[in-house]
């Protein structure tokens, strides 16, 4: 449920309680999200259980990776572990691309993935220059909207069957 509580919390405890009540009511009414007993495709699994936080410096920004590697933006990050190839995918905005520079400190949360003998960090979250970019969701799927402006949908409700899963 998308109640957008943070901006309203200080102003309205009553509103918070209402949201909490609705959330609890929704959770109790709804079928709960369940993970399938079977794992995702073996080659296509995001290892959420072994996420890492990588802190380093951007050594390179590569929008045209070599054939066979995941498509889209890659950051080469110099870290204590060595140089890490971090995959950010094809959905970065122009603003994000323009803001990423060699030499810039960066922190990336993600999971390592070996493809064709090479290790990649599948980035879920990237923090640089005072901004946070959500690259993937908690299941490792790339998020396809990074605009500064919002989805112009039905703001009063949203998909609530996730019980606030995201």
């Amino acid at each position: 449920m998308r109640c957008h509580l943070s901006a309203q919390f200080a102003r309205s405890i009553a509103r918070l309680l209402t949201c909490l009540f609705l959330a609890i009511a929704t959770i109790s009414l709804n079928a709960q999200p369940t993970q399938s007993a079977t794992q995702p495709p073996l080659a296509l699994r995001y290892d959420k259980a072994h996420e890492i936080t990588l802190t380093g410096t951007i050594e390179g920004v590569n929008e045209k990776p070599e054939t066979g590697s995941p498509v889209g933006l890659h950051l080469m990050v110099a870290a204590s572990e060595g140089t890490i190839d971090a995959h950010l995918g094809p959905y970065m905005t122009k603003e994000t691309l323009e803001a990423l520079h060699t030499g810039m400190p960066v922190q990336i949360v993600g999971a390592m993935k070996k493809l064709h003998g090479k290790e990649y960090l599948l980035a879920r979250q990237v923090i640089f220059g005072g901004r946070l970019v959500q690259v993937r969701n908690e299941n490792g799927l790339l998020v396809q909207a990074h605009t500064a402006k919002s989805h112009r949908g039905n703001q009063k409700s949203g998909l609530v069957s996730n019980g606030g899963a995201r």
Partner: protein, 636 residues
Amino acid sequence: MNFRRMIPLTIVLTMLAALVACSSSSSSSGSKSGPVIAITATGGTPQSTTVAAGFATALSATVTSNGSPASGMSVTFTVVAGGTGANGAFATTTTSDTETTNASGVATTSQTLTANGTAGAFTVTATATGATTPATFTLTNNAASTLAAGNYVFSLAGTDSGAAGYASSFYSAAGVLVVDGGGNVTGEMSFSDFNYYVKEAITGGSVAVNPADSNLLITINTGDVNIGPGGNTATGTGTLVFSAAMASSTRGLLTEYDSWATSTGELNAQTSTAALCPSAPGTPCGYAIYLGGLDASGNPIGVGSVITIDGASGAMSGAGSVFDINDGGTLYPNLPVSSGSVSAPSSDGLGYVTITINSGAFAASPGIVLDGYIVDANHIRLVEDYYVDTLNSTTGGTALAQTGTGKFTSASISGATYVIDMPGADIHGALQVAGMLTFNSNGTVSGNLSFNDIAAQNAQGGTAITGGAWADDSSGTGRVIVTGATDGATFAYNLTLYETGDGNATILSMDSGDVVVGLGRAQASGLGVSSLTGNYTLGLYQFRSGVEFDAEGQVTANAAALSLTGFTDQNKSLLGTGLKPNSSVNATYSGTASSPIISINGGGGSTFTLYLVDGTQSVVIENDNAQLTLGYVTNQ
């Protein structure tokens, strides 16, 4: 010399003279006539095709020597242009094709002959050494026709350049084109991308033959500044252009074909605008549905459902209805429907309906609201109205009518094989899946599957499914749950199918690592490589470097030469290389007489796997890591 001695000598001399005479006569005869060589056209004449399309039947000429088949003779087929400029070309050697006669004296062209862009008649001659008169084949290029007057429903899904102030986005569109006898277009459409939803009138437009080939160019005008070239700066023309490769006069495969957006879809003559399920509540009727797109946070989302209309005037009680959601890998299976409705078709005769699905799974109603455009009694094209519904996602899809609603059992699908094609997304980006899924009577699944997300894919020919199980959900809805369809190494998919009862299904993946949605089609038996022959229309959904580009066109499968030749109109605008009309297709294919899986090799090392559905349609997927291609191929 006495008389008795003269008699033998006379006989001998007479015989010698006769021998010399005979010898002389024989020698004279041979130098003047020899064996009589003749050549005649015995296959492929007369025939016709649409301009720019391939001729479906190979040309055959039979050579005889003194009336008997002459094997091993060289025969040259040569194209002779017609008076109007109508002409044709062989696939590789253009003006001529030389072949050798077989034991029956028959020589057959191995290269596909393709019409040029000019209507009219032309000929091909066939000559053989010793034959004084060539064989002549009569060929006709028919002018491409535009759409006949009537209503046509279109549906598209792809990527646009974004509405004002926004980045490019997944979009979905559907609507009705009202075409008059002069090729003028009006109608209405629903459009939805991540930032903008609208249902609006199509105020003008046109249909014309693409001068580069025989596809159609359909232009629609809406006056909406948020769509069309310029739409990303709120100065849009409101004009969209579709390219249509027609499989028949009533059905075509579409791409959006302008600089603002690219997509794939279908165009169908509208044959019904009747209210859905008028026999309810006495006889409930149901629809299998899939929706795909993005949720409000930009996560890929898929919805699969069966809805059952069981009340008067399109009302749904919820009985017999169910839906599943895969929202960015977070799974919500087996959600109940509390109520719903399908509105009466619009009074303007365009066959527009509103479908509403409510559920306790949503905090508010309406849960899901869909704009529906009725194609016929069995198909409705859908665009979600996320401005009003609670799902709040940018999705589109299709509803397929069920037969035997509420009475499905495991026997409904047991033993059948479905060819599936499903685009979507996984942890690396765009994902495409195609294959064959067999529902074995012992509850296991088998078959063959290909997937590709560029970073990972299986080899050409797909991979055998060696594990997995299926079960009917036992409630009669036609919902079938497949768990763990795997090759044991590279993939393992959980899929939910929603049967129609007439050999079709909608499909949704229920995995935490991917979201794919699409269609399944029951596969016919007895298919093999020879099943791929003749003229086809194809639509291709493609990505390169994570950017969508699309194509549709026409190809000829030459079963003798195992070649595919033809053309596509490509929209590479989002790749920055613009529109590519009449791009040539040259590929070879191979397979066995008893397998419905065919390997296709294109240029530049590109490899594809084609899964035959029956003698009229197939799905195709690219297996290399250069780009993604998921296509649908249907007979002309």
